[in-house]
């Protein structure tokens, strides 16, 4: 049985004049210990997916449909208190910018102890002991001294390590990491990712890694979802998606990686920007930026279909597969 199962999740934003659909029919499964990457540009709905799982959408967002099952429990049926007990305990979250995630007026020790005490009956002294053990696990030097320090006394990389340590405090089953290294120096990014990977594999924790960086996803995860304008457009094994991307958007993302370009040449960008939620194009939302777009793409939205190991939502991919199958039959 999968640890987390998201079925047809729809998230909407009630704006003054209209209701915008931020997530449209998102479905995926996550097994215990599995690492899943969610990739896409800014505004694709990656972070919203993460927050929707914890029911922490900020106003005016709300879950408008679908079902989220975690560890056999339907999240929608839980009371506020039951939901609170899952947050931070069974599902931990790592935020994007460590500079603003920790409360500036509370000590590191305070922010670690309170997390333990919110979920366990534990004395302050015992909680501090656990905190020190976890800080050591994330390679924080002199962890005893950190407890009495305030966030502003530590560097960004250190703070993100501490946030990872807080995530590990209660041995969660799932960690949702929302762009955990975007706000950090490039030199520290690799360290943090390595640490996260090491801790997840050692402790058999499932991971949802939200990022715009396919390079990171290929190193960190086993399966990948590619999102565009609130929809999943491609999903499958990370290796397959990185080596043989099907959807033109995924192909574009991979071609845009600096590693894919000969030094001296311009990086290959995907032309245009992702549309805003209020001005989604008809048919396939990607068609204005797609090299392969046909009239069908402008009129109808493609269905999300399985082809061998991957699922793709693209008319062109579907057509190619049909011709291949026809040729195979003929041949």
């Amino acid at each position: 049985m999968s640890l987390l199962s998201v079925r047809d999740l729809v998230v909407k934003f009630a704006m003054r004049h209209q209701t915008l659909t931020a997530l449209d029919q998102i479905s995926f499964e996550l097994a215990q210990g599995e690492r899943l990457g969610i990739v896409g540009e800014s505004g694709a709905g990656k972070s919203i997916t993460g927050f929707a799982i914890l029911n922490l959408l900020s106003q005016p967002g709300f879950i408008a449909g679908g079902k989220i099952m975690f560890d056999g429990k339907d999240m929608a049926s839980l009371s506020a208190e039951e939901m609170r007990l899952i947050r931070g305990d069974r599902i931990a979250m790592i935020f994007q910018d460590p500079m603003v995630t920790l409360n500036p007026v509370l000590t590191i020790g305070e922010q670690m102890v309170e997390t333990l005490q919110a979920h366990r009956k534990i004395s302050r002294r015992d909680a501090e002991k656990i905190a020190i053990v976890k800080l050591r696990e994330v390679y924080i030097p002199a962890p005893e001294e950190r407890l009495s320090q305030y966030p502003h006394e530590l560097s960004g990389g250190m703070r993100q390590r501490i946030i990872i340590a807080i995530a590990l405090l209660l041995d969660p089953q799932l960690i949702i990491a929302d762009e955990p290294t975007t706000a950090l120096d490039v030199t520290i990014q690799a360290d943090i990712m390595e640490l996260l990977l090491e801790l997840c594999t050692n402790n058999k924790v499932s991971l949802i890694l939200i990022t715009h960086d396919l390079g990171v996803v290929s190193q960190m995860t086993e399966r990948t979802l590619v999102m565009y304008a609130g929809k999943i457009i491609e999903s499958g094994k990370t290796r397959e998606i990185v080596n043989d991307p099907q959807h033109p958007y995924t192909q574009g993302l991979i071609n845009a990686l600096p590693q894919q370009t000969v030094p001296g040449q311009q990086l290959k960008q995907i032309p245009g920007n992702m549309p805003g939620l209020g001005s989604l194009p008809s048919g396939c939302a990607f068609h204005p930026r797609c090299d392969f777009a046909t009239d069908v793409c402008k009129k109808t939205a493609p269905e999300f279909v399985s082809f061998a190991d991957v699922k793709v939502a693209c008319h062109e991919v579907a057509r190619l597969h049909q011709t291949k199958e026809a040729e195979a039959k003929d041949g």
């Binding site: 500036p104 007026v105 509370l106």
Partner: protein, 326 residues
């Protein structure tokens, strides 16, 4: 820490210097003190002699230097009317005023924090909307009108509360007599405190509400929810502590302002404090007392602001580093 303290004390001294010059300069524009001091029968020659004797004919700089020298030794001149050192006159009235400010501060702190927090957490609740509407009304009505309306309802119509004076006071030490020791004293201080608080309270409710709403949107509050903390801890520790940082700064300035506002409240309630005394002094052209009052009020302003800055450093951990570096 020490360097910061020294710096603050120097700043305070500079501010006091400017305040003293301005207060002293005012006295030339208040009319002739001789008119009040002596009867009509005194001739112009005697008047001139008296002026010369009192140093009123000297140049401004000479007069100010003389005044400043004495002031540094704690002598702010002698009140023409009371024939007593101006400082003593004010110190006798000061406790009544400070108690009034204290009463108003208790009301403001006690109500603005819970109401501000509540309206921030539940912005759409009916109670919140009612509080916000009332606060607009509270800001708009001037203190003297609030005071008169209260006297009409609670003293004249309902006969629940006394309308003037301090009532039963208990001697504490020196000139300090307190209203907070007897039931009658509390009844007397209640209405003036409410009237004095009536302008600041809505201001603080709105300030705390808007700061709190902003804090509730911050990443660290969202993170606190994601950690599964209880709502009470998130609201009253994580959010409120950050909310109070700017509020403390504004609050410090407002305490000084309230001391000035007491002039109105004390006049309406015949409260024997230094605000009431100041208005009388103006009527009597008692210039030394007027100047002394302005300097004392300025001094209270400077002291409260300095204390608030120090307090801010205690609450906000990020200030400590800056202080050590200073």
């Amino acid at each position: 820490m020490f360097a910061y303290l020294v710096k603050r004390i120097f700043q305070a001294a500079a501010v006091m210097f400017v305040i003293s010059i301005i207060s002293f300069a005012i006295q030339d524009n208040l009319g002739d003190p001789l008119r009040e001091l002596v009867g009509q029968s005194v001739s112009e020659e005697t008047r001139n002699e008296l002026r010369e004797e009192m140093g009123l004919n000297d140049s401004f700089i000479v007069q100010y230097t003389r005044f400043a020298k004495k002031a540094l030794h704690g002598d702010l001149g002698t009140s023409y009317f009371f024939k007593e050192p101006a400082l003593t006159v004010i110190l006798k009235k000061l406790p009544a005023t400070l108690e009034l400010v204290l009463g108003a501060s208790i009301i403001i702190i006690g109500l603005s924090i819970p109401l501000g927090v509540y309206t921030a957490i539940k912005p759409n609740a009916f109670v919140s909307k009612a509080i916000m509407s009332l606060s607009i009304i509270g800001i708009s009505i001037p203190v003297f009108l609030t005071a008169i309306l209260m006297i009409y309802f609670f003293a004249v119509e309902l006969r629940l509360l006394p309308s003037f004076g301090r009532g039963d006071v208990v001697h504490v030490f020196g000139y300090w007599k307190t209203n907070f020791a007897t039931w009658d004293g509390l009844k007397h201080i209640f209405m003036p405190s409410v009237a004095l608080a009536s302008i600041m309270l809505p201001l603080f409710i709105r300030l705390i509400r808007s700061e709190m709403m902003e804090t509730l949107q911050s990443d660290y509050v969202r993170y606190a929810w994601a950690k599964g903390l209880k709502a009470k801890r998130i609201w009253f520790l994580h959010a409120l502590k950050n909310t109070m940082l700017p509020v403390i700064t504004v609050g410090g300035v407002q305490i000084g302002t309230m001391v000035a506002y007491t002039i109105l409240t004390e006049t309406v309630f015949q409260w024997p404090g230094m605000g009431f005394m100041f208005l009388e002094a103006v009527n009597r052209v008692d210039t030394p007392l007027i100047v002394a009052y302005l300097i004392i009020v300025g001094f209270i302003f400077v002291v409260t602001n300095t204390l608030v800055d120090l307090l801010y450093g205690l609450v906000n951990p990020t200030v400590k580093l800056a202080r050590m570096g200073a």
